[in-house]
């Protein structure tokens, strides 16, 4: 499980996260919603340490991630090598896919296992083929990203994240850059992952999808979690006035 306690971050003098607390149980799916600039994407990037943060801590199965505190030297970030080891327990899928354009679909998926986890080539390739079959792209194994639609690229990105055999998957608005008719195929792939009972955190604007897939929804505003509950609690019986306003505008 993941435990986030008192997470704080500033961009210069501007606070973007003002003390976020969130627990995610094994197999749980949590959706983060809120208007743009509320800090939900920053929170996701902090979990994967793509952003450094200024206070608070994140634990995965009891192990403190990214920073060490000791009496003598105070708070300091873990070494680059340790951060790499920790990152391999997580997968992240970006809004803009971020595939490597000079590699084929299979090479994209296999890169992490091969060079970060030192999985033997044949084994990594078998894993890659299996995952690409799973996201329905076994026919595109030797295509380059530029030859794929946005939806297909995003499915490759999901396979790439899964190839690290992560304990937790992070999704950063993975359908917002897609044409409407391509959203469904990506949502189908994410839906199919539910049977893996893997932890997932989704930043999303698609409230219908969040309601369907998430066990809990967290509403963020001005850098904190203002309301947290089941989809029915958050979407149907909101208490916070700004959340009510947010939902009214989203309809």
């Amino acid at each position: 499980m993941i435990q986030i306690r008192g997470l704080r971050k500033w961009f210069g003098s501007l606070p973007v996260l003002r003390g976020v607390d969130l627990d995610i149980a094994d197999g749980e799916v949590v959706a983060l919603i809120g208007r743009s600039g509320c800090g939900k994407t920053t929170l996701l990037r902090c979990i994967n340490f793509l952003e450094e943060y200024d206070g608070g801590d994140i634990r995965l199965d009891g192990e403190a991630l990214w920073y060490r505190d000791d009496a003598a030297r105070g708070r300091r970030r873990v070494s680059e090598a340790e951060a790499r080891r920790m990152r391999q327990t997580m997968g992240i899928v970006f809004q803009q896919y971020n595939l490597f354009p000079h590699m084929t679909v299979l090479e994209n998926v296999v890169l992490g296992p091969r060079f970060s986890q030192h999985v033997p080539a044949a084994e990594a390739e078998a894993l890659g083929r299996r995952l690409l079959t799973r996201v329905g792209l076994d026919a595109k194994i030797s295509a380059y990203p530029a030859q794929l639609s946005g939806g297909q690229q995003q499915r490759v990105a999901i396979a790439r994240a899964l190839a690290m055999r992560p304990k937790i998957l992070l999704f950063d608005e993975v359908t917002s850059a897609l044409d409407p008719e391509l959203v469904g195929e990506v949502e189908d792939v994410i839906r199919a992952l539910l049977s893996d009972r893997i932890m997932m955190v989704l930043v999303t604007h698609a409230l219908g999808f969040a309601r369907e897939i998430a066990h809990r929804i967290a509403y963020l505003a001005e850098g904190t979690i203002v309301e947290l509950g089941t989809p029915a609690e958050i979407l149907d019986r909101p208490k916070d006035p700004t959340l009510k306003e947010f939902l009214r505008r989203m309809r």
């Binding site: 994967n48 793509l50 680059e80 090598a81 790499r84 080891r85 990152r87 391999q88 997580m90 997968g91 992240i92 970006f94 803009q96 971020n98 595939l99 490597f100 354009p101 000079h102 590699m103 890169l111 992490g112 060079f115 970060s116 986890q117 380059y144 990203p145 530029a146 790439r160 994240a161 190839a163 690290m164």
Partner: protein, 215 residues
């Protein structure tokens, strides 16, 4: 003497020269691109090395290539390294052109989307693997046209090795002129052969650029 007869008699001389020129240019081009990649890696590895690379690049951009050629040819024997002239000259071309290649690759770096670094970090790639597998292949491909221009300049600069006794094309033409007095014949053929080499270089790089399927 007719042109055909000239070719019939001195053809083999030109072939020898062409061989030396082509081999030197090929070796120096590969060396310069490799050295340019090393300089790029150094530049990315911290502010100290980056300043050193900048100074190196500025020095070589603002001095003529004949100076490093003479430096290695006359200087290496003095420090106990009596290497053959073609090695000294080739090395000088590598040092000089490597500086330009490093600048070209730095330009190519700008074409790479910043978010790819996020992707590389998120799958736990080490800095070395990120450079080797993600950065460098893309930078090299984006830079193919500019690298082609640089290699053309390098091919032409091999002619300067005639000044340190390398028996490449220009040297052969000089020897033929002194031997026969027929400067026009000697040098026009050599000029045509250089045009051929330069055109072949350009065609090769254009084909390489087209052969990359992913962009």
């Amino acid at each position: 003497m007719t042109f055909a007869r000239w070719i019939a008699i001195y053809g083999p001389t030109y072939v020898t020269g062409l061989g030396w020129t082509a081999m030197t240019a090929l070796g120096a081009a590969l060396g310069a691109i490799g050295w340019g990649c090393v300089l790029l890696l150094l530049r990315l590895s911290g502010p100290g090395p980056a300043r050193a690379v900048d100074a190196y690049v500025q020095l070589f951009r603002n001095t003529p290539v004949l100076l490093p050629i003479y430096l290695l040819y006359f200087g290496l024997p003095l420090v106990g390294l009596p290497w053959p002239a073609v090695i000294c000259g080739g090395l000088a071309l590598v040092l000089q052109n490597g500086a330009y290649v490093a600048e070209i690759l730095r330009g190519g770096l700008k074409a790479i989307d910043r978010v790819q670094f996020d992707a590389a970090r998120s799958i736990g790639l080490s800095p070395w693997n990120t450079f080797r597998k993600v950065l460098l292949p893309q930078v090299l491909v984006y830079s193919i046209p500019s690298l082609g221009n640089q290699v053309v300049l390098l091919v032409k600069d091999t002619s300067l090795l005639s000044a340190i006794t390398v028996t490449e094309l220009t040297m052969q033409a000089k020897l033929l002129t002194e031997q026969t007095g027929a400067a026009y014949e000697a040098f026009v053929v050599v000029a045509l052969l250089y045009l051929l080499l330069v055109s072949a270089t350009e065609i090769t790089f254009r084909a390489a650029h087209r052969a990359v399927r992913w962009h």
